[in-house]
Amino acid sequence: MAGTYTRRDALGLIAAGGAAAALTRPSRAAGFDWKRFSGAELHFMVSVHPWTDWAQKQLPALTEATGIKVNWEIIYEDQLRQKLPLLLRSDPGAVDGFFTLPSWDMAAFSRAGWYEPLDKYIRSDLTAPDWNPGDFFPNILKTHQSNGEQIGVPITIELQTLYYNKAMLAAKHVEVPQTLDALMAAAKALNDPGGNVAGFVTRGDGVQAVYTLAPFVFAHGAHWLDDKGQPELASPAFVDGLRYYGEILRAAGPSNIVGMQWKTTYPLFQQGHAAMFTDATNFIAFFKDPSQSRIVDEVGVAPLPAGPAGAHSTLISWGPAIAASSKKKDATWTAIQYLTSKAAAESALQATHMPPSRQSVYNSELYTQAVPADLVAATKAEIGNAVPNGANPVVIPVPEVRAAIGTAIVAVLQGKDARQAAETAQQEVVRILRG
């Protein structure tokens, strides 16, 4: 087994107990009354997700500890986005808590007033003293903040990172790139079309590539939106980032990069047909799984290379929130608090293998011993400078805006002018946001 990872190791699974383990009582602090809202019955609407699956298994323990009964309705993400707004608008009190991805939901939900601001609960005696919001990475808390108010509790961290094939870099004496210039040079040096190896690969499908483009435009100093929430896609920095994305993939990407979705990019890297790859941190599972990966021992992880404006990854997280229309908000907060305590985060880590949002759990051996050391180092280096909810512009019509930006990405991948593509995208997004 030495030197090889099983998928479970890669994912950070500590086998014993795992999903079945009910978490230990979340708070030992004297004086906090977990049973204060005993007898309440709550309705949570959540999407299919490893964390919601884990949480569902904790509900009997939650009822025992708090006396609160939770009806945990799990539906697919698309259906949640359709059904939840209908219920929140038409039937106040029907939903007490829900699962939210702010990079996608926050603009619409905030404008509709569906999030209950949480700060007043966190600061009150409704919160156990050892729940400790200071334990969360500060930047991950920001993913669940609207106008400075906490509206949800992030449960994991998802960043983007640079993956590289150690053997390929060593064979050509290429250093792990730390800057975008070095990345471009390395990608060109490693590119070997004759040998069927691309120097660098990331997403080429317009709608999907908005996510992977983000760090490249951030590294040039660009932002999706200005301070007033208006698109800023024609700025010189954005054009530079977009141009770079097109150039590196045209120079050293696979020949069929145009239209490539993540489900076709990661297999290239995984099967030894690409030397470097950028995408979300959780792709490590695909590369460390010996049953499907040819590069289990060769995969290296490094922080995203820095551009003129530094290195800025994207940071997103799902998490539970309280419905502003709920008639049992205090009890709902008690339930959310129970499911996001430190003990809960440890239990969830063992069951879901996802990087925890609490620093104490992230830094514990429970996590650091279970995943590759370079992944821990890379994400630690990135998290402070990552852009919360940077995966796409946080606007109401996210999918439509992503499609408009995606058209610009495809244009540069086809060799068209970056400035013109960016300006067209800017006009299109302004038009979409106007409604």
Partner: protein, 305 residues
Amino acid sequence: MVALATRRADAAAVPRRRKWRRDWTPDLLLAPALIAVAAVMGFPLVYLVYMSLHKWALIGYAAPEFVGVANFTALLDDDRFTGSLWRTLYFTALGLVTNLPAGLGIALLLNREFFGRSVLRALLIFPMVATPVAMGLVWVVMLDPSLGIVRYLFGLVGIANPPLWLSDTDWVVPTLVAVDGWMWTPMVALICSAGLASLPTEPFEAAIVDGASAWQRFRYLTLPLLMPILLVAAMLRLMDLLKVIDIVYVMTGGGPAHASETINLYNYLVALSYGKIGYGAAVALVLFALVLAATLGLVRLRSAS
């Protein structure tokens, strides 16, 4: 004469009430079916029209607002809509002109006796029964230049650099038509096969006696006799091609840069992904009208033939 007179007398003897009842009985018997059709087809259609006249956001912070035909006039200025409309017609035309001759050819081949015919016929079913989504994903991998087998096979016959099937905006629709055809041409073949088996043998025997060549027999006997069956196959393919969404969604998501976005996919994106239910209803009605018009055209062609 006697019988006629008796019948007249009987008719006169029937009381008014019974006559009334006899007239309405068939309608009453049909009523359950009519009500069911109205409920499951009529109501959604009427509601679709109602929605298409509103600005209606799925993400519900604003109430639906009546806008008249504004959604339909907006369609005319929507490049993605007009693009997807023409693309769908191109997709459909390309599908029909390739699937029908290929299906008929396979059927003619299967119509002859040869070793392994029944095995071949069974194999034909496979692409049809496979899940389109799974098949789409398999084709994505097969067409990938680095990972797939297609490029290798082209290399064997001396074509080192075949087109970048799904990444080339000019090739993406023909490639999707080919994958769709791989799945559904066997259906055309089976329909034609059944049609061929039901043709009378006498005209063919007479034609052979008269010295008609194989081509003449096909051109002047098989094809005209098979035409009603071919039109049924064409109608089924036409409806499927106009509505195509599954393989496009899975294989390209409409990309690159909307180059493979069909009207049904655009409809899905607008209504359920972008949450513009009213506008999406307008797109759906255009698609509905398109399918209806094309189908009625073929039905007329069939009755004429």
